[in-house]
Amino acid sequence: MMDISDLVKSISLFKPETTLIVTFLLAMMFDMAIKKSKNIAGYIAIAGLVIAGFFLFQQTGANYKAFASLLVVDSFGQFLKFIILMSSLIIIIFSFFSDELHNAHTKLGEYYTLIIGMTFGMFLLVGSANLIMIYVAIETMSISSYVLAGYTKEVKRASEASLKYVIFGAISSGIMIYGISMLFGLTGSLNLFEINQFLAANKVATLPLLLSGLMILSGFGYKISAVPFHFWTPDVYEGAPVTITAYLSVASKAAGFAVLLRFFKTGLLDSIPGTSEAWQLLGNIDWHYVIAVLAVLTMTLGNLVALWQTNMKRLLAYSSIAHAGYLMMAVSVMNDNGVSAVLIYFFFYMLMNLGAFFVVQLVANKLNSEDIEEYNGLGYRSPVLAVCMTVFLISLTGLPPTSGFIGKLYVFSSVINSGYIWLAIVGVLNSVVSLYYYVKIIRNMYLRDVESTKSKLVFSPITIAIVLMLAIPSLLFGVYFTPIVEWANYSMNIFVGN
């Protein structure tokens, strides 16, 4: 039960989220008060995110079930919250340079405010240990993201994207809440810890448990765009503003993977703290295979369909589906090594994916198109940008010496260590397929139209600096990856408490 000291401690651990709420309100107020500056809410948002990051850093080492086990504060959550925070920060900076957004609107206040709202929802989702809390958090982030996807509302394809997003999102969260209600009926509790205890102590009918688990997975699968809940991904990614596409592909997925891992580890698995032994399964259902099959389907579909895409945003959408597949491989082994691999991969994925989307945004600013053909001769037209794009694409493929290689290495080794050799082979074959479409872009940039008479593209030094700030770490962490690996290994224990 909740007493006053629990409440006080919970509130003190809720500081990052509180900061985000205050930032949300301040951004709105300043936006209304100061009419001259278009980006004032953005500056407030950046300040708020930095302060939230400071409070988050203060929580290092905390392991606590806050608010009577509604939320869990642990180092696993802290790692993913940092990823979400960093990508929010980077996305807000990207938005300052987006012509697409600035041409469409006189005011961008709501845009930055909604990004903060979405960050808040994701923070809650990462920490949720109660099924209703998970539902509320998913809706908080989704509702903001539906609006953001269609923020340029005069653009036909953006409004189409938001319609598809809201319909698919609402259906999958509807199915999820039905699954939650079934799990509630089976176990008599909404709290993941109590569900775990109940499943460990009692025998539950297998079919309803499997069905409710799959229904709940549909909600998470939609967030991480896993097959068969991926249908919205390509359309929404193509239609939404580039900044939002990039945001959905990184932060939203990080929150989805966080809740997926926490749901399994806290709710459905009997855990042995402090070991990297495989987590013990509860309720006679082999969730390993359920997730492994979804992972294979996800990455294969993502990679194969990406082969014949001609729009960069759509191509990167399918590539992000494929990456969700690789990450699910690491989830399917269901041990601490897998968690650590997911964390390592996510950090590098954030750098390279955001970088690739920023290059797409810059090129679209100048050429008003996202077609792959437009990238012909980019190596001549803007050498720095083309080199950085090459780094991001090689990193996405997972070739050395980039950070993407390290991420894939850890994912594959966690899979092989658990004895799923066939899964690792499928993963490697998929990476080979992905090489084709990533290299196609590099070929367009360097080997097509080399003697073109097209003019050089001039980008402002500050945008080039931002691209370099993402490209250099993508390369650097490929050789010097120890700090990230250590940080991930420190964070891999999901707090299950007793």
Partner: protein, 102 residues
């Protein structure tokens, strides 16, 4: 015959299926959203029925209230987006909003 838990669960399963059927078959965006409400209310009936007959605590009732609130919020956003679709496309038929494909 006494009305028990099973009756409520059957009703909610029927509602859920009808909701999904409506979402899949209807073309009009508003009708799709109505199908969605059926799905959410099916979950609500489950929550309340389990809380009442399963001998469980108040959590079920609270969950149902949360679902109702979020359904309202989601419907508001969805309707705003549908309105925006109407401004751009001059209709709200979900299957004809298909500029993005591939």
């Amino acid at each position: 015959m006494e009305i028990g838990l099973t009756h409520y669960l059957v009703i909610s399963a029927i509602l859920f299926s009808l909701g999904l059927y409506g979402i899949i078959t209807r073309k009009h965006a508003i009708m799709v959203l109505m199908g969605l409400e059926l799905v959410l209310n099916a979950a609500n009936i489950n929550f309340i029925a389990f809380a009442r007959y399963g001998g469980m605590n108040i959590e079920g009732h609270i969950a149902a209230i949360f679902v109702i609130i979020l359904a309202a919020a989601e419907a508001a956003i969805a309707l705003a987006i549908v309105l925006n679709i109407y401004q751009n496309f001059r209709h709200v038929n979900v299957d004809e909003v298909d500029n993005l494909k591939g």
